[in-house]
């Protein structure tokens, strides 16, 4: 067979395998549309690892009558590939549930989910505009405005900081942090002494550092995410910004934990006690370490929870002998409302967001510790 012939045959075989295998219908599938390439790749892995572990547990427990499978598609962290990937998951694979992350991607795919009655669950993005993406969009991560409201009083009362400055990326997340600070800092007796925006394309932060030093803050809020945030923190510190940094849960970042310049930073996150004796949390922590050889993070836990609650809703539907459709899963999630999940109780609000208790953390050498 010629090379071309062989390639065609291989492609054909692959296509047949993907579409025609009888095993397809014998399983329950959900989709995961995560950034498996591009600048957010690392997070895509964190998210995916958590989801995959949940699938392992669901199958081990025989929670459902059929094996449970997660199909991964790459969103590349960008809207257009995400829309293509979402279409594939929703229209080819006919997944009733799709996991997603990041505001841009979530906003681009949420309308498809709503139109096709597919539950879309975010466990990674925290921008507040994620709360308004329609009846089929759920967040299993508390959004950033809740975080800042928990963080500011701690900075004022426990740390006795008076002057706070913010360096923020110009997007919904950064602006939400700015607005929350504007509102909450004075309430807690702190003064917002400077607000400096960073263009998302910028990688040179020495001039911003000069402006931050000029206002002499006691503490500097960094509202950014991903690799640029790590570069930003390093450069600010290098350029003589000596005040401690503070941030939202975006600081729970493996690269940042490895960065000496970030040590001593204070950040908020959802409450997560890894040493808890609660059986779900303990099992998650133990098996996560076993499977991936490292400690879990919030992100792992959130995507684990996203899959976990989905399977619970499916199991409940099975019991009621109702078909497993996106619409039914959505209604079931809101009907059950409170789930036992990693980290404790998780309660869905009618608008698809969750309320969870918060905690304050500090970055220490090579990791983080809980302060309160």
């Amino acid at each position: 067979m010629s090379l071309r012939g062989r390639m065609t045959a291989a492609l054909f075989a692959a296509a047949v395998a993907a579409f025609a295998t009888p095993a397809w219908a014998q399983n329950y599938h959900i989709g995961a549309l995560l950034p498996n390439s591009g600048p957010m790749t690392q997070f895509g892995q964190l998210f995916g690892n958590g989801a995959d572990l949940a699938a392992d547990h669901i199958n081990a427990d025989k929670m459902l009558s059929k094996p449970f499978v997660i199909d991964h598609e790459d969103s590349q962290g960008q809207p257009q590939p995400a829309v293509t990937g979402m279409n594939k998951l929703v229209r080819v694979n006919e997944e009733p549930v799709v996991l997603t992350a990041q505001s841009g991607v979530s906003k681009a795919v949420a309308p498809i989910g709503e139109r096709e009655h597919v539950v879309t669950i975010n466990g990674g993005g925290v921008a507040p505009d994620l709360a308004k993406l329609g009846p089929y969009f759920f967040n299993v991560i508390p959004l950033v405005n809740y975080e800042v409201r928990a963080l500011v009083p701690y900075l004022a009362k426990e740390k006795k900081f008076k002057r706070i400055a913010i360096v923020y990326v110009e997007d919904p997340l950064g602006e939400a942090c700015l607005n929350e600070l504007k509102e909450n800092a004075p309430k807690n007796g702190m003064e917002l002494v400077g607000a400096f925006s960073v263009p998302s394309t910028s990688r040179q932060f020495a001039p911003i550092a000069a402006k931050v030093r000029e206002v002499k803050p006691d503490v500097v809020f960094v509202a950014y995410y991903g690799q640029t945030m790590v570069a930003l923190v390093k450069q600010l510190r290098d350029a003589g910004v000596d005040a401690p940094f503070t941030s939202y849960s975006g600081f729970d970042d493996p690269d940042l934990k490895a960065l000496p310049a970030a040590e001593g930073s204070i950040y908020s996150s959802q409450k997560m006690d890894w040493a808890s004796t609660d059986p779900i949390t303990a099992r998650f922590v133990a098996d996560f370490k076993k499977k991936y050889g490292k400690d879990p993070t919030f992100y792992n836990a959130n995507y684990y929870n996203a899959v976990w609650v989905t399977a619970q809703a499916m199991a409940s539907l099975e019991k009621k002998k109702q078909p497993i459709t996106g619409e039914n899963i959505r209604n079931e999630l809101l009907a059950i409302k409170t789930f036992a999940a990693v980290g404790g109780k998780m309660e869905f609000q009618p608008d698809g967001t969750v309320s969870m208790p918060m905690q304050i953390n500090e970055l220490i050498k090579g990791g983080s510790k809980v302060l309160n």
Partner: protein
């Protein structure tokens, strides 16, 4: 006070930009190859430096030298294996550009597969600033980049004015036939241009890997800065490219003085546009050649 600090920061940034731009200007000026992959050379040098120094724990000077050498080899091989076959068919400026861009895309993604898409940097106490009086702060590496830029310019001036290869390189851009007439081999000269041009970008790559950190996609920005600086300075003029880089660095830093910090990125391109509109031949360019 703030102004002075921004001026100092701008000088350091400008020195780095000048180092990036001079190598590009050298290659473009003498061979007329629109070497988009100049940014790729920068990224390769930076990542290799990171790999050797941070992962294999080689001494920094050995890692730096090896990385710079790899950059030179990359540049020379590109000239020999890619640009030359294209130019043999009288490939136009754009054909060369597309191929060069293609290489940049390939290299960027190979690095992503090898090192991941996230940012790498080398931690050294040399990037921490210290007070030099009056609240103005500078880091050792910042001072080093200004010094390195200054020294390299002195060296380049000497090289282009006083050595045979240097004089021939300058002649190559004006009139390749003339060079041939003097018994020099334009091909060989073009290899020299690529070798030296690639070597020139190495100090900027090494310093930036420590100071700002490196991502696989950093090359695009390096090329943009290089091109912008070359145009501001005037195509074909090395002095001009160096000065252009310095202006861009200063502008990017000083823009923050009065404007919102959000606009510092765009300032470079606004200056570039102003030059293209008002003085397309640049500061030192030869008007007739535009």
């Amino acid at each position: 006070m703030l102004f002075l600090q921004l001026l100092v920061d701008g000088l350091q940034l400008g020195a780095l930009y000048a180092l990036m731009a001079v190598g590009f200007a050298m290659i473009f000026g003498s061979t007329r190859v629109f070497h988009y992959a100049h940014g790729t050379t920068y990224v390769i040098v930076g990542y290799l430096f990171y790999y050797l120094a941070e992962r294999l724990h080689l001494p920094w000077w050995a890692a730096g030298a090896a990385a710079a050498a790899a950059g030179v080899v990359f540049g020379v091989l590109l000239d020999r294996w890619m640009y030359r076959p294209i130019q043999r068919d009288e490939g136009s400026f754009f054909t060369v550009f597309v191929a060069s861009f293609g290489i940049a895309v390939v290299a960027e993604n190979v690095i992503i597969i090898l090192f991941g898409a996230s940012f790498v940097s080398i931690s050294t106490p040399l990037t921490r600033v210290s007070d030099i009086g009056g609240g103005i702060v500078v880091s050792y590496l910042g001072m080093f980049s200004v010094l390195a830029a200054a020294l390299l310019f002195v060296f380049l001036n000497w090289f282009l004015d006083r050595t045979d290869v240097g004089v021939a390189l300058r002649a190559l851009s004006e009139n390749p036939d003339l060079v041939r007439g003097f018994g020099l081999n334009p091909r060989k000269l073009s290899q020299y241009a690529f070798a030296i041009g690639s070597l020139l970008v190495a100090p900027a790559a090494l310093v930036a890997t420590c100071v700002t950190g490196l991502t696989p996609t950093a090359g695009h920005r390096v090329v943009l800065i290089s091109i912008a600086a070359s145009i501001i300075g005037g195509i074909g003029s090395l002095r001009g490219a160096g000065l252009g880089g310095l202006i861009l660095g200063l502008a990017e830093s000083l823009a923050v003085w009065k404007l919102s910090t959000g606009w510092s990125e765009a300032v470079a391109f606004i200056i570039l546009f102003a030059f293209i509109l008002a003085r397309p031949s640049g500061l030192f360019g030869n008007r007739a050649r535009v």
